[in-house]
């Protein structure tokens, strides 16, 4: 395993252990504070891992593209897990389609935003040594801005929620006749 993969590997391991503890520790009578703690750890891994996986990966030698891919590992794993659960409930096609629902898209936007924050911090404090410019950090916000604009415009112009429910469900009905 390459050194730059260590952060994501460690985060994945923590997330798996936290999942086990969070989902099952109550059966062993674990106290609420402990279960809440593991929950917080788990959600932090899921929601914020790009915040540290990306910059540490860069520090450990990953170029931009690879650092982004590494930072997306945990979001993609979680997203696939969500779709897998959905396929058991709705069947293969609709289950996979659930993965296109707005919250998941915004989740990727948030992940890129977290990378942007990491990039900004790197640029400000270690930029010279790594050749990283803090000025590029706002580019990481483009996905979430694009998604937000799309959803906002839908509301503003047509009073239509494109990504979260209305448009998403229209797509479902068109594809699967729901």
């Amino acid at each position: 395993m390459r050194r730059d993969s260590y952060p994501v590997a460690f985060t994945l391991l923590v997330a798996v252990l936290a999942t086990l503890a969070y989902d099952y520790a109550w059966r062993l009578g674990a106290p609420l504070w402990l279960r809440n703690g593991t929950g917080l750890l788990l959600f932090s891994c899921i929601m914020l891992s790009p915040l540290w996986v990306y910059p540490i990966g860069r520090v450990l030698g990953a170029p931009l593209g690879r650092a982004v891919r590494l930072a997306l590992v945990l979001p993609v794993v979680w997203h696939l897990k969500e779709m897998l659960v959905a396929t058991t409930i709705f069947g293969l096609g609709p289950g996979l389609y659930t993965g296109l629902q707005g919250p998941y898209l915004f989740y990727y936007g948030l992940s890129f935003g977290a990378m942007g924050v990491g990039h900004l911090l790197l640029g400000l404090f270690a930029g010279a040594g790594l050749g990283i410019s803090a000025w590029r950090a706002p580019l990481f916000l483009l996905p979430v801005l694009a998604l937000g604009s799309l959803e906002g415009l839908g509301f503003a112009l047509f009073n239509y929620d494109l990504l979260v429910f209305q448009g998403f469900l229209a797509g479902y009905n068109a594809l699967f006749g729901g």
């Binding site: 059966r27 809440n36 959600f43 409930i89 709705f90």
Partner: protein, 465 residues
């Protein structure tokens, strides 16, 4: 002889006069005997979130009063734990398989007959005030004189500043559907104000009012007077729950997005705020001297999971989701007020009950059973089993499921995505031990599966199972 003839003629005249008078007055007399009806429906109010049910801190003195003066149905259920299907069952007395509103997207079929129609034909003044929230838009509901509702936020309405639709006419925010009624902007208060005014206007002849609250549905916003009242109350989560459950697995799709304890306090405050408004209805009925001859029913449209089974929301066939509060008060007729009735009753029993109380024959198609014998003091079981159905509601991560609920057992048949379940409710009321593979219960499972299928078939055929 002449005197006898004269007396005979006078008697005949008096008899004829009385007969004609009675014939002419009979509709009026019958109407005068008919009870008024006030049906109050709450949204997502689970069965035990009431003072009278032993909740540790929710203040519901007015609902408690209805229970004290009426009958509390301890085992009341919905046949589908979701707003739209459940509401349609209350109105029609039909299972969702028959009325067609299967989830929050399948439209209301206005060919459905609601309890309003026969009531209207029997001379009632009728009103539906509040949350309609069934797919397919706002219908022209037959039998309803005043239909005051909203389609704001997809029919959910908002706790503050919801614009009303009055008999099809769209009003702007703050505009009152009834002249002279001032609106505060908080929906529970506004719906109550409108109901109070409507009752006052229609007090002189039998009336049937359906007050359909938004409370206590998400986002569970209490009125300003109740906000923060329970901030210091300790909240006990179920053993399997934790504070972050609203974010876990698919639960985030319900948009609770708060620590569970905080949201449970909001829920309690919103319920208490609603109870306060229900108290105003009780007071008005007292003041107008109408309470004695008014059938007052309070119910929830479904239950709510607060972390049990590591779930939130409703939909599932677990007890917390399918049980509802169901209180009935009718002082003029109810035997032994303050009674608790424990046999299983359903949301679809409402319509035939109201119609029988009003002296109107329920449409034959209705699948619910009248609860009038219970009002009259007969505590025999209403049914020994019933069918629960949750239709897939994409993209909410809850499997399509059908359940057979008996007094003791519950069999849950999942279409896919989950192992079927059997619970012995007498031994395991929290439904923690799935007995579906228990060899000693194999025959029980087989029998229940057969019964589930036969009852489902009868329901789908439009028969009473």
């Amino acid at each position: 002889m002449l005197g006898v003839m004269k007396t005979y003629r006078t008697e005949q005249f008096v008899k004829c006069f009385l007969l004609v008078t009675l014939t002419l007055l009979s509709p009026w007399l019958a109407a005068a005997e008919r009870p008024n009806i006030v049906f109050i429906l709450a949204d997502d109010h689970r069965w035990d979130a009431l003072g009278v049910m032993g909740h540790p801190f929710i203040d519901t003195p007015n609902l408690d009063r209805i229970a004290a003066e009426g009958v509390l149905f301890e085992n009341a259920f919905v046949t589908s734990s979701l707003c739209s299907p459940s509401r349609a069952s209350f109105l029609t007395g039909l299972y969702p398989q028959r009325h067609g509103v299967q989830n929050n997207f399948t439209p209301w079929d206005n060919a459905n007959v609601t309890f309003f129609e026969p009531l209207k034909e029997a001379g009632y003044s009728t009103a539906f005030i509040g949350k309609w929230h069934m797919p397919g838009g706002i219908p022209e509901l037959r039998g309803v004189d005043d239909f005051i509702t909203f389609d704001h936020m997809g029919g959910q309405g908002a706790y503050y500043d919801t614009p009303f639709i009055a008999n099809g006419e769209r009003l702007v925010v703050g505009e009152s559907p009834l002249p002279g009624v001032e609106l505060s902007g908080y929906i529970t208060e506004d719906l109550t104000e409108l109901s109070l005014a409507w009752i006052e206007q229609h007090r002189d002849k039998p009336f049937a009012l359906y007050l359909s609250h938004k409370a206590v549905h998400l986002p569970m916003t209490p009125s300003s007077g109740w906000e923060g009242r329970y901030d210091d109350e300790p909240v006990q989560l179920p053993p399997e729950a934790d504070s972050w459950l609203a974010f876990a697995d698919g639960n985030f799709k319900h948009f609770l997005w708060d620590p569970l304890e905080a949201k449970m306090r909001d829920y309690a405050e919103t319920a208490a705020a609603m109870d306060e408004q229900i108290g105003r209805i009780l007071t008005l009925l007292d003041e107008l001297d109408l309470a004695d001859n008014t059938v007052l029913i309070y119910a929830g449209d479904n239950g709510y999971l607060w972390g049990e089974h590591r779930l939130i929301d409703k939909r599932w066939s677990y007890e917390e989701s399918i049980r509802i509060p169901f209180l009935l008060r009718y002082p003029r007729r109810l035997v032994e007020p303050g009674r608790r009735h424990s046999s299983m009753v359903l949301n679809l029993d409402l319509a035939p009950t109201l119609l029988e109380l009003a002296g109107v024959a329920p449409p034959q198609a209705m699948q619910g059973k009248s609860l009038v014998p219970i009002i009259d003091g007969d505590d025999s079981p209403v049914r020994d089993a019933w069918i629960y159905k949750y239709f897939e509601d994409f993209p909410y991560p809850v499997p399509d499921q059908t359940a057979l609920r008996t007094e003791r057992y519950k069999l849950v048949d999942y279409k896919r995505g989950r192992r079927d379940e059997l619970f012995d409710l007498s031994e395991d009321p929290q439904e923690q031990n799935n007995l579906i593979d228990e060899p000693r219960l194999a025959a029980q499972v087989k029998d229940m599966r057969a019964r589930l299928m036969s009852m489902t078939a009868r329901i789908e055929q439009g028969k009473t199972p």
